[in-house]
């Protein structure tokens, strides 16, 4: 809350009063690991732009991976949506084996699901179209709603590398 103190003096005094009342005494445990990558000794771990930004930059430097309204007040099926999203991610990365080189972004609008990802140009366009048709159709059987793939392709895996750590 330090930044608040600098901004508004009157808030700062209130904060001081609050802290004086002392309802929190234990030391702060902020260590979080998820979404952060450890530096390697050789500094050769490739990171995409999204990987390079830790989770607290979501909404600032990068965006959400799942877009839906299931966690709003009175919204429907929050848990199912989360599980389905995990399933979609596993399905897409498995079906497009060793081809997906970004996060899989899942957007839900009304009854449709749009799935976006970056794909490596390692197979012919013809095979890609087969996989597009297959993924869309099978996921729509599973989710029982229209599913659209919105893929972009990149020539090389290195094209998406933002930095090495």
């Amino acid at each position: 809350m330090n930044f608040l103190k600098k901004l508004l003096p009157q808030v700062a005094t209130e904060v001081q009063q609050l802290s004086r009342s002392g309802f929190h005494t234990s030391s702060v445990c902020c260590r979080v690991q998820s979404g952060r990558y450890r530096i390697t000794t050789k500094r050769n771990r490739p990171l995409t732009y999204e990987m390079a930004n830790p989770p607290h930059f979501i909404g600032h430097r990068k965006s959400w991976n799942s877009w839906n309204t299931s966690t709003m007040k009175d919204a429907l099926r929050p848990s199912q949506t989360a599980i389905e999203d995990v399933f979609i991610r596993k399905f897409v990365t498995g079906t497009w084996h060793a081809l997906v080189c970004s996060e899989v972004i899942i957007k839900r609008q009304h009854n449709t699901i749009r799935i976006a990802a970056l794909i490596r140009q390692a197979i012919t366009p013809r095979k890609m179209y087969f996989l597009i048709g297959y993924t869309e159709e099978l996921l729509s059987y599973w989710m029982q709603c229209p599913v659209t793939l919105e893929l972009q392709t990149v020539g090389d895996k290195k094209d998406v590398v933002f930095k090495y750590i």
């Binding site: 297959y134 709603c145 392709t153």
Partner: protein, 652 residues
């Protein structure tokens, strides 16, 4: 009130259009104040009306590929073959997913959607041991599942369950409609779109299955109802069991069975298979129509089209025209409005290759331009391709073609373009006509609009375009077209390659015109590109190979474009492989090469050329003269020159 007025316009009119046209209602504040407010009645709307209204505001985007393709440079198809393969691969992926669903049905039994959507669940499987009853048969028939319906019917038969005559009748209708063959499922639209014209091949022969389930069902229905007669006759007529269909119709007539209009239509359609000459066909057609009028049957659009189809098969032009002119007013009196299919038949009746020139299409277009059509008859999709064909081959009229194109882009008329085959015929004729009749600048505007997203020219049309460009003397477009040809995969057509080179060589760029200032360098680039591509193709054992003329033209273009280095390489290729290459470069190509060698001061190259010319029995005096005058030759070169053309030459 404003809103409701807009809503009434929604399903048909373009929103943008209606907003601008009635904009006065809310921008100016001067409506008649004492006019009573009139609340219009509520209009029933379907769930998709709003979506359709929104969709009508968006037209086809010429700059993007069709939306069935993925919007990514790597995935955008660039040739006709790629367009077809990509769309079909996607559909094949969908089929694979469906197969997985059916194969692992236990995984897809969950119900997410409310209400449940049948298509997402695995379909019911009927086997020999299934417990079935009449209701399941009725359900299968209503879903149009032919194979399962037949299976269930057989099961019911085996178990001796009674089947009501009504159910038998509807099964008979289903079996007759499909000729007891599983049709292509409706959801595979690409397969239908790219289906090559199989229909025409089918048309020639009988495909009806004699003594199959349909006839068994028919014999089981007792007493015979008019419906059972009708379905069997229609089935036989559709699958060209003509004799028996007609015999059955006569039998029904003798037994005083009241048939319906569509059954008569189906028999009129096959009159051409029953009789041989035009007179006999027309007689039979008239007899059938008379029979209809005796039975007090009202003819409909199907009758009109069937009669016109029958007339269109007449070999004699005069008889056909007279019959058509006789039939049309009668149908008009009966209040039958022709569909696009009827106009299609009129076009093929009146505009024949060997017949006199007919302008019937002008009248037709005056009649229907600006109208929006919906599909009413299977032949409606043939109209646009045929109309454009008439515009190009029969009348050769640009303005008519533009009118046809305008009609095609009116409202939802584009839905009636048919399939990929007809669409490509349409654009083939359209572009070929435009390139012959329009100036090159105007033509290139249409070309840029249509190519490559709407239509990719076939090699034949590319040749037409090149010819038109040569005639108009607009050689500056050739390098552009060459790059298009590379993209469209036309580079293995030897005639096209030769033609491109021919145009570039024969039409020396005019240095005064700014458009052609770059042309020599571009020409050299084209030539070099072609050289490399053909070399590559030969390595891969493709169809194309070098000819002497092609190499000579490439040589000339490289020399003209100032790439002397590359020209020497090409010449070395010619020289080295002269036994493998059929034909020789023209003498002019060699002369230009020698001239360039003189300019570049490289006598050894010039002497190589001379040697080649002597070895291939050219008239080498011209070359030798140029070399002798152009260079001050040293001893070795001079002696070589002498040995090639002889002493006597220098003495002159």
């Amino acid at each position: 009130m404003y809103l409701s007025r807009q809503l009434r316009l929604l399903p048909r009119a373009n929103i943008a259009c209606s907003l601008s046209s009635s904009g006065a209602h809310y921008t100016t504040a001067a409506p008649a104040e004492d006019a009573p407010i009139e609340i219009p009645n509520r209009i029933e709307r379907s769930p998709t009306d709003l979506l359709q209204a929104l969709a009508s505001t968006v037209a086809r985007d010429y700059t993007a590929p069709h939306y069935k393709y993925h919007d990514d440079p790597f995935l955008i198809p660039m040739s006709n073959a790629a367009k077809r393969t990509y769309a079909m691969s996607k559909e094949s992926g969908r089929k694979a997913a469906k197969w997985i669903k059916e194969e692992h049905r236990e995984l897809f039994m969950h119900q997410e959607a409310q209400p449940a959507i049948e298509k997402f669940a695995p379909s019911m499987v009927y086997t020999e041991d299934s417990v079935v009853d009449e209701t399941s048969l009725a359900q299968l028939i209503s879903q149009g599942e032919l194979k399962d319906a037949v299976l269930v019917y057989n099961l019911l038969e085996q178990k001796g369950n009674p089947i009501s005559p009504e159910l038998k009748q509807s099964l008979l209708e289903l079996v007759c409609f499909h000729n007891n063959q599983e049709p292509i499922p409706e959801e595979y639209i690409e397969e239908r779109w790219f289906l090559q014209n199989n229909k025409r091949r089918e048309r020639s022969g009988k495909t009806w299955k004699d003594g199959d389930l349909a006839e068994k069902l028919y014999s089981e229905i007792e007493p015979k109802t008019p419906q059972s007669y009708a379905s069997l006759i229609r089935g036989m007529a559709k699958y060209l069991q003509c004799e028996r269909a007609y015999a059955l119709l006569q039998e029904a007539g003798e037994k005083q069975v009241q048939l319906d209009t569509n059954t008569f239509n189906s028999v009129i359609e096959i009159v051409s298979f029953l009789k041989d000459t035009a007179e006999q066909r027309w007689q039979l057609c008239k007899d059938l129509l008379n029979e209809m009028s005796q039975q007090k049957l009202r003819p409909n659009l199907g009758t009109l089209n069937a009669v016109l189809q029958c007339i269109s098969t007449f070999g004699n032009f005069k008889v056909a025209r007279a019959a058509a002119l006789q039939a049309l007013p009668e149908f008009k009196q009966l209040g039958v409005n022709p569909s696009l299919g009827s106009y299609y038949y009129l076009l093929i009746i009146f505009c024949r290759e060997r017949g006199p020139v007919s302008h019937v299409i002008v009248d037709i277009l005056n009649d229907i331009s600006g109208k929006e059509f919906q599909i009413q008859h299977p032949k409606d999709t043939y109209f646009f391709a045929t109309a454009m064909d008439v515009c190009r081959n029969h009348l050769h009229d640009k303005s008519l073609a533009k009118k046809v194109d305008e009609l095609l882009h009116t409202g939802k008329n584009y839905d009636l373009v048919g399939d990929s085959f007809k669409e490509s015929i349409y654009y083939r004729n359209y572009l070929a006509l435009l390139c012959q009749t329009e100036s090159t600048e105007d033509f290139m505007l249409s070309y840029d609009l249509l190519v490559p997203n709407i239509y990719i020219p076939e090699p034949g049309i590319m040749e037409e375009i090149l010819r038109a460009i040569e005639i108009n003397g607009a050689v500056e477009y050739v390098p552009r077209l060459w790059s298009d040809m590379v993209v469209f995969d036309h580079t293995h057509r030897e005639s096209l390659l030769l033609y491109v080179l021919r145009i570039l060589v024969d039409n020396k760029p005019n240095p005064d015109s700014p458009a052609q200032a770059q042309l020599p360098e571009q020409g050299a680039k084209v030539a070099l590109d072609m050289f490399e591509r053909v070399e590559e193709a030969i390595k891969r054992l493709r169809k194309v190979s070098f000819t002497g003329q092609m190499l000579g033209d490439i040589l000339t273009l490289l020399v003209r474009g100032g790439s002397y280095e590359k020209a020497t390489e090409v010449f070395a290729h010619i020289d080295k492989n002269q036994h493998r290459i059929p034909g020789t470069p023209s003498l002019n190509a060699l002369i230009e090469f020698v001239d360039a060698s003189v300019q570049e001061k490289s006598p050894s190259q010039a002497l190589f050329a001379l040697q080649y010319a002597v070895e291939n029995n050219f008239d080498s005096r011209e070359l030798a003269k140029r070399i002798h005058e152009g260079f001050t030759l040293n001893e070795t070169h001079l002696s070589k020159l002498k040995s090639l053309v002889g002493e006597s030459f220098l003495d002159k």
